[in-house]
């Protein structure tokens, strides 16, 4: 697995660019990821979704279903895609430091 360095911080990542360990997450991680995910600047809306994903993961041990993410944050799926062009899984979850989505994706 690859080790990358960004702003003096080290992150261990897989071939898809997901963080291997949630506890390694820091604000630098989001900064590092945003470029590859087509995001120029992390806005308040981005941050709100990232915070919700992290809280939900810490509390429940899973990423929320898309409907839960929408309902809890108030962002429709369309708006989530506007914020994260790769979508809630590959975009938002990666940036929030959650594990890679699995199953038949």
């Amino acid at each position: 697995m690859a080790m990358i360095e960004f702003k003096g911080k080290n992150f261990e990542i897989d071939e898809d660019g997901f963080l291997l360990k949630f506890e390694d997450w820091g604000p630098e991680w989001a900064e590092y990821v945003k470029e590859s995910e087509g995001i120029s600047e992390i806005t308040e809306a981005h941050q709100q979704i990232l915070d919700f994903l992290q809280d939900y993961y810490k509390k429940n041990g899973i990423a929320p279903m898309v409907r839960i993410l929408s309902k809890s944050t108030g962002y429709k799926l369309k708006q989530i895609y506007e914020l994260f062009p790769s979508g809630p899984g590959k975009g938002a979850c990666k940036m929030a430091g959650l594990p890679k989505p699995t199953g038949c994706v």
Partner: protein
């Protein structure tokens, strides 16, 4: 190769982005005779194996030559198909729902010439490139999956096993001597992508060992509740465990525990969680199922039933698999009545006769033990044959 840009600008990924345009409309690709007579077909016949004729209201005819395809194809092969379509069919061709290739022409002479041409094409190793057949009551292409070519959960290979079985049954592809068409399908794990659950004969990749748990990584890579919920028999539960990591540190991690005696090796938990791999060279192999169908012709659609509990993986030629499939096909072909699918035949003569006539061994593995519905698969009657 050096990087060549398509014009996409990674600095502005959303600029000039075309999306949600869907597939091309099929009408753009119709041969003229099909476009002209769409919705006006009167009747059809199978002129000879691999060659169909459709008659339209106005008297137009279209002749369809069907040939086998390996499904997994190179661009070179697709170009060869295009070259044939250009030469004989005005540049038109189609693929069937079982991944055969169909070329359409307007006269019988052209069709016969095309058939002869297709049957003459060979790969360097001697295999037919475009064997003609797959029509009527024969054995057509095998619907199959990715196997070791591309998937990460297979218990066997798809392309390999399919090549083996179609080599074994090759002469049936170009003939129509079965009681009804025989659909053979293949899936490399019991996710059953494709048609194994509803085919006359089905080949299914099967594991026989429980997952190996990578405790050190499980909580990092997996959403533990999803792995727990992935199990159809409740064999997985969350737990904490003290482990020594690869680097030699001792720590307590969140992980799962699997009751091996409850696990039936479905592999669903590995689909959800990369830290639970279970594939195993000697454990993995094949299950054969039989008697499924999707059509409503006479009898309702049926699921296929397990008839062989395990055949080992024997790459590259899987001889036991080839022999067993041949055994089932021969017993069915010689005993079933006209129009009877494999499932119709087995249900008419009774499954105890199916096992007798095919020479397959019946074991406890065939007896359903999955939840309440298992009961309905047992025999609540004294009607059986000795």
């Amino acid at each position: 190769m050096a990087f060549v840009s398509s014009g996409y600008n990674p600095a502005k990924p959303m600029e000039n982005r075309i999306t949600d345009i869907g597939p091309r409309h099929f009408s753009e690709f119709l041969p003229p005779v099909i476009a002209k007579n769409k919705g006006k077909w009167l009747w059809h016949e199978i002129v000879e194996p691999g060659l169909l004729m459709h008659k339209a209201e106005g008297g137009d005819e279209v002749y369809t030559v069907r040939c086998g395809g390996a499904r997994l194809m190179s661009v070179g092969h697709v170009r060869a198909l295009c070259a044939i379509a250009d030469k004989f069919c005005g540049g038109h061709l189609r693929f069937t729902t079982r991944n055969n290739i169909e070329f359409m022409v307007e006269t019988l002479e052209e069709a016969k010439k095309l058939k002869e041409y297709l049957n003459a094409q060979k790969f360097d190793g001697g295999s037919h490139k475009f064997p003609v057949g797959g029509t009527g009551a024969g054995i057509t292409n095998i619907v199959h999956t990715q196997g070791w070519v591309h998937c990460h959960t297979p218990a066997t290979d798809a392309s390999g096993t399919v090549k083996v079985v179609l080599d074994e049954l090759f002469e049936e592809f170009g003939q129509m001597r079965m009681p009804a068409q025989v659909r053979i399908s293949m899936a490399c794990c019991l996710n059953m992508c494709g048609a194994v659950h509803c085919s006359d004969i089905a080949i299914l990749g099967y594991h026989r060992k429980p997952p190996i748990i990578d405790h050190e990584w499980l909580d990092n890579l997996c959403e533990i509740p999803l792995a727990v919920a992935a199990c159809p028999v409740g064999a997985i539960r969350p737990t904490k465990k003290e482990i020594v990591t690869e680097k030699g540190e001792t720590k307590t991690v969140n992980t799962v525990a699997i009751k091996n005696e409850r696990c039936m090796f479905c592999g669903n938990c590995y689909t959800m969680c990369p830290s639970l791999p279970l594939s195993d060279q000697t454990g993995d192999g094949l299950v054969i199922m039989a008697g499924g169908k999707v059509s409503n012709r006479i009898s309702n659609p049926k699921f296929s039933k397990v008839v062989v509990a395990f055949i080992p993986n024997e790459p590259p030629r899987w001889p036991t698999l080839a022999k067993t499939i041949r055994q089932i096909v021969e017993a069915y072909a010689s005993d079933a009545r006209k129009y009877e699918r494999v499932g119709d035949w087995a249900e008419r003569i009774g499954w105890e006769r199916f096992f007798e006539k095919t020479g397959l061994e019946f074991s406890e593995h065939m007896i359903d033990d999955f939840r309440d519905p298992a009961y309905y698969t047992w025999r609540q009657t004294t009607n059986f044959k000795f």
